[in-house]
Structure formats: structure tokens, C-alpha cells
């Protein structure tokens, strides 16, 4: 009786597990999307603040944005877009069971993030050397609109930079999972979720770039 019972239990349990695993992937992604909405509101609020201050101080914002290094800004945009491509390809490679290629692409994505941060470091060092940093006497002597521009620049681009660092850390974890065989061609939802986060960071930069570097 007990053996009959256990067979019956196994019959019931098996399709249940399969169904559960199937539903879980969609739910995991949905959970990630819900988190991304909270990110959207976080940056949305900052963009709201930016738009009002820019509307109030149009010429000051234009003058202050001339201080930005447009070349490095454009280069960073290209770097982030490329890293988004390699992340999408890393997931695609995993779907096709090409583990080695996926590992290579994940490493490349992390390196792109690092290159982005190095450029940011160069840019910020340059601004600091010019005295354009919060609390500096040189910046304090400038018109109010320009002070606001730099305040928004450091908080928004800084927050985005933190997101890049977090994204790099998450992908580094995914890399370890992939190497250890926790992420497989049948179960790669973790990698997908990490990808969603990375693409969101990319989208935020897509808006930050023209709003801070390309004011005419």
C-alpha cells in the first residue's frame, strides 16, 4: 500500500513540479519588472525636478552644460549600448547552450561597465579640478541656475553610476553561477533578470546623455 501510495504521490508530484517551474520563470521576470517600475519612479522624480529647474533657468543650464566633455559622454553612450548588446547576446548564447560564449560575453559586459566608470572618473576629476563640485567657492560664485545644474548633474549621474556598479556586481554573480553550472540552457531566468536590470540602466543613460551633455 505504501509503495502504491508513493507511486501515486510521484505521479501527482511530477507534473506539478514541471508546471511550477514553467510558471516560475514568467513570475520571476514579472517580479523583476515590478522592481524596475520602482526604479522608474526613483529616476522619474529626479527627471521631474530636472525639467522644472531647466525650464526656470534655461540659459544657465545651457552655459553650464558647455563645461561637459561631449566626446566622453558620447563614448560612454556607445560603451553602454554595446554592453547592452553583449548582455542580450550572453542570454541568447545560453539559450543555445553555448556556455563558453555566454561566459565570454558576460565578462565583456562587465568590462564595458568598468570602462564606463573609468570615463566617469576622468570626467568628474576634470570637473573637480575646475572647481565645479558641490560646496566649492568657485561654483558658489556662479549664477543659481548653474549651481542647480551641477547639483542635478552630480546627483542624477552619480545615482546612475551607482546603478552601473550594482549592475556589474550582479553580472559578476551571474558569471560565477554560469561557471558553477547554476545557470543552464534550461534554467537561465537569473541571467535574464540581471539583463533586464542592465538594460534599464542603459535606458536611463539614454535620457541622461542628451539632457546633460547636449543642451543647445
Amino acid at each position: 500500500m505504501s509503495s502504491a501510495e508513493s507511486t501515486q504521490a510521484a505521479v501527482i508530484a511530477e507534473p506539478h513540479i514541471e508546471e511550477h517551474a514553467h510558471r516560475d520563470d514568467v513570475r520571476s521576470r514579472m517580479g523583476m519588472w515590478l522592481f524596475l517600475f520602482s526604479e522608474l519612479l526613483l529616476f522619474g522624480g529626479l527627471f521631474l525636478m530636472y525639467s522644472v529647474y531647466r525650464y526656470m533657468h534655461q540659459t544657465d543650464f545651457s552655459i553650464a552644460s558647455k563645461e561637459m566633455n561631449t566626446f566622453l559622454g558620447t563614448l560612454n553612450t556607445v560603451i553602454l549600448l554595446t554592453s547592452s548588446l553583449t548582455m542580450a547576446l550572453a542570454i541568447n548564447a545560453m539559450q543555445r547552450g553555448k556556455k563558453g560564449l555566454s561566459i565570454f560575453l558576460q565578462i565583456f559586459t562587465i568590462l564595458c561597465g568598468a570602462a564606463f566608470m573609468v570615463n566617469k572618473f576622468i570626467e568628474w576629476s576634470h570637473e573637480f579640478a575646475k572647481g565645479n563640485y558641490p560646496g566649492s567657492a568657485i561654483l558658489a560664485s556662479k549664477p543659481k541656475g548653474q549651481i542647480l545644474y551641477f547639483g542635478l548633474y552630480y546627483s542624477m549621474v552619480g545615482l546612475h553610476g551607482i546603478h552601473v556598479l550594482v549592475g556589474m556586481t550582479i553580472i559578476a554573480f551571474m558569471l560565477v553561477f554560469t561557471i558553477r553550472g547554476k545557470i543552464t540552457p534550461d534554467n537561465y531566468v537569473k541571467l535574464e533578470a540581471a539583463g533586464l536590470y542592465w538594460h534599464l540602466v542603459d535606458i536611463i543613460w539614454i535620457f541622461l546623455f542628451p539632457l546633460f551633455y547636449l543642451i543647445t
Binding site: H22, R96, L200, T216
Partner: protein, 100 residues
């Protein structure tokens, strides 16, 4: 089996991703070039329109929104709609104060 089917729906070809990437790079170049030309007040509109097109490409292709269930799209639409509402309310309020 169903699980497997769902996965294949997600896999695009490498080529499609590269095409999307090329489009994104081209649009970035376009934004930078257009910023050099002075369109006056239209400049910011042009820059934002290009940014929206780029985001749409990333959302649908890289983030696989194209092949996600309809509920996902509805969620995103609602989230973006409310963001737009807050922008609209803020600016209508702001122009009202300025008008006074």
C-alpha cells in the same frame, strides 16, 4: 515541453540584436549631430523623441517585451502613463503659477 516552447520564443537570431545595436548607435550619432544644429526650442523635443525611439528598441528587442505576455505590456503602459500624468500635472500647475 511547454517550457521548451516558451524558451524558443525568446531566442532571436544574433543578427537581429546586432541590427538593433547598429540602429541605437546611429541614433546616438544623430542626437549628437542634431545638438550641433540650433533648432531653438525644438532641440530638446528632437533629443527626447530620439531617446524615446532608442528606449523603445531596448525595451522591445533587448528586454524581450515583444514576446512577453500581454500583462507585462499593460503594466508598463500603466507605469509610463502615470509618469506622464505626473509630468503633465506638474507643468500645468507650474505654468498656472507663472501665469499669475
Amino acid at each position: 515541453m511547454e517550457n521548451l516552447k516558451e524558451h524558443t520564443e525568446h531566442s532571436h537570431s544574433y543578427g537581429l540584436y546586432v541590427m538593433v545595436w547598429l540602429a541605437l548607435i546611429t541614433l546616438t550619432g544623430l542626437t549628437a549631430v542634431i545638438a550641433g544644429i540650433n533648432f531653438g526650442k525644438l532641440s530638446v523635443v528632437v533629443a527626447l523623441v530620439i531617446a524615446v525611439i532608442k528606449s523603445y528598441l531596448v525595451l522591445t528587442e533587448f528586454m524581450h517585451l515583444k514576446s512577453e505576455p500581454r500583462a507585462f505590456k499593460t503594466f508598463i503602459f500603466v507605469a509610463l502613463f502615470f509618469l506622464l500624468v505626473s509630468f503633465t500635472l506638474l507643468f500645468s500647475d507650474y505654468s498656472f503659477i507663472i501665469g499669475k
